[in-house]
């Protein structure tokens, strides 16, 4: 049953050094506030899992939280590179980053399989691609009915899953609306889940088949207004595209990044 905690307490309770951690949100609803809280709490040696690392993992990698990254597209959308990620992969700064690289289809299926409690996902994927040569997590199986060769990847079943959503009701049921990505899958696949929300309301006012995650499938809910900024929350605030563009310059330079981190994360209390 979901417990309402401060973001600080939720992260302190569930995110441990060395944990496998997925923080999702496909462009939309990226849990930046939670990422910053993890940086502030100085977590280390995390295995980070996200389809699109985006700025949130660029920041966490740059801050030294990560030892391993599982992902499928590591750019700054519409802008270019993630320089902190590249610096870690190419130069080992601030520490080496081991990467396990997938395609989106495989990761989406791996989240689906994780939510479904399976050890593997099966897909028609990676045909002719070099990715299986460099990622030992990609295998192939033979369909027992047709003989077709299909790709198999391990399900994503992280220790902790964190997503952001628009709102929770007072019983801790959460509504996710718009681009829902793999938000539900992350919560269901994780051993422990934290959902940050823009607000808590009396009634979700959701349609009969809306993407509602019941409170009893969530461990902690933390209110984090603007918690997805600089990504966006459908119905609340738009994506700050300028910040995404500006990030390119900040992240390109180790010192500029350190200064940004100091000012906007370490000295930013619990806010995003």
């Amino acid at each position: 049953m979901a417990e309402f905690l401060s973001l600080h307490d939720a992260v302190a309770r569930y995110v441990e050094d060395g944990a496998t951690l997925s923080m999702e949100g496909f462009t939309h609803l990226i849990p930046f506030a939670a990422g910053h809280e993890i940086i502030r709490q100085g977590r280390r040696e995390l295995t980070l899992i996200r389809m699109t690392p985006d700025l949130i993992f660029d920041q966490m990698i740059g801050a030294g939280c990560a030892r391993r990254l599982i992902f499928s597209w590591g750019g700054n959308p519409g802008v270019g590179s993630l320089h902190r990620l590249r610096d870690a992969v190419e130069k080992g700064y601030p520490q080496p980053l081991e990467i396990f690289e997938h395609s989106h289809a495989a990761m989406a299926c791996a989240f689906e399989a994780g939510a479904a409690g399976l050890p593997l996902a099966v897909l028609r994927g990676y045909v002719g691609s070099d990715l299986p040569k460099v990622n030992s997590q990609i295998k192939f199986i033979e369909c027992p009915f047709t003989g077709e060769r299909l790709a198999a990847v391990p399900a994503v079943r992280p220790d902790v899953g964190i997503v952001h959503a628009q709102k929770a009701d007072r019983a801790g049921n959460v509504l996710v609306e718009g681009i829902i990505g793999v938000q539900k899958e992350v919560v269901l696949a994780a051993r422990h889940s934290i959902v940050t929300v823009e607000e808590v309301v009396d009634e979700l006012q959701a349609g009969p088949n809306a993407c509602v995650i019941p409170g009893w499938a969530i461990d902690a809910i933390a209110v984090a207004e603007q918690g997805a900024y600089p990504s966006y929350a459908h119905g609340y605030y738009p994506r700050d595209n300028a910040f995404y563009k500006a990030w390119d310059e900040i992240a390109r330079d180790r010192e500029a990044f350190a200064a940004w981190l100091e000012e906007h994360v370490y000295h930013a209390g619990g806010a995003a």
Partner: protein, 263 residues
């Protein structure tokens, strides 16, 4: 009477024209997105655009900066989860055309968006595969649009992120339940199509004013040209107007969004 247009506009209009009305198109961000939306706003009002963020049949008024902009969801018929998008809609066989960009391409249309150099010691780390590896095999066919340059058109891609026809042109042979693969490459200089037999890319059409030498100069391998080499039709006034308005609208929109509070 010829209109004024840039090579980039020539490329986008040509790419847009490739997309037939009523086609279901899985759209990559950047050039493919620009071309696909131009098609929708001109000759192909009923083209169905799908973005990997789960937005089905979307009609963005401005070009998205990211694959998951709010605009894509707000103008979509419906938005599904990302697993559903890749499982039911792409792998399920409901996509006619996958429209991709790339960082490197070789003569067999293999695409590299992973890195330059060696995988374990990359010279440059690129974003990676994203949706492309399975778009390339699960869509009915694939269009590629990319600017011509020797950095992009290379003798051998450093990494096959996304298969065209494999290093030897035979990678699709005998593989069941996959699409036809790339059927055309649209650049700012020309249009290329794979040879039906060998699958090697062949220039079938040069854009107006472009010479075969220019194409060869901008390519890292010895380019084949079709025997009957055509001249790509020029953009029309309407197409150029719509494209320019779309880009201006897009620039105004994304500038309007720019609060950059933390930057």
């Amino acid at each position: 009477m010829s209109l004024d247009y840039t090579a980039a506009e020539m490329m986008t209009v040509t790419a847009a024209r490739a997309l037939a009305n009523g086609t279901t198109c899985f759209v990559g961000i950047g050039l493919p997105s620009e071309a696909a939306n131009l098609a929708r706003l001109t000759h192909a009002p009923e083209v169905v655009l799908i973005y990997e963020s789960g937005t089905l049949q979307t009609k963005p008024n401005v070009l998205p900066l990211s694959i998951g902009d709010g605009e894509l969801c707000e103008t979509a018929l419906t938005t599904v989860s990302v697993p559903e998008m890749f499982r039911y809609w792409l792998q399920g066989g409901h996509v006619d055309v996958g429209f991709l960009g790339t960082a490197q391409i070789d003569r067999y249309c293999n695409l590299n968006t992973t890195l330059i150099g060696d995988y374990r010691e990359p010279k440059v780390r690129l974003p990676g595969g994203g949706g492309a590896p399975e778009i390339a095999t699960n869509a009915g066919e694939v269009f590629i649009t990319v600017k011509h340059s020797r950095r992009t058109f290379v003798e051998a891609v450093d990494f096959v992120t996304t298969v065209g026809f494999g290093r030897d042109g035979r990678a699709r042979d005998g593989v069941p339940n996959i699409g036809r693969g790339p059927t055309r490459v649209i650049t700012d200089l020309c249009v290329m199509k794979p040879d039906p037999e060998t699958k090697e890319l062949v220039v079938v059409s040069l854009h107006p004013g472009v010479t075969a030498e220019q194409v060869q100069e901008a390519s890292g391998w010895e380019i084949r040209f079709a025997e009957r080499l055509e001249t790509t039709p020029e953009p029309g006034a309407e197409e150029l107007n719509v494209l320019r308005e779309l880009k201006a609208r897009t620039a105004r929109h994304h500038a309007g969004n720019e609060t950059g509070a933390q930057a």
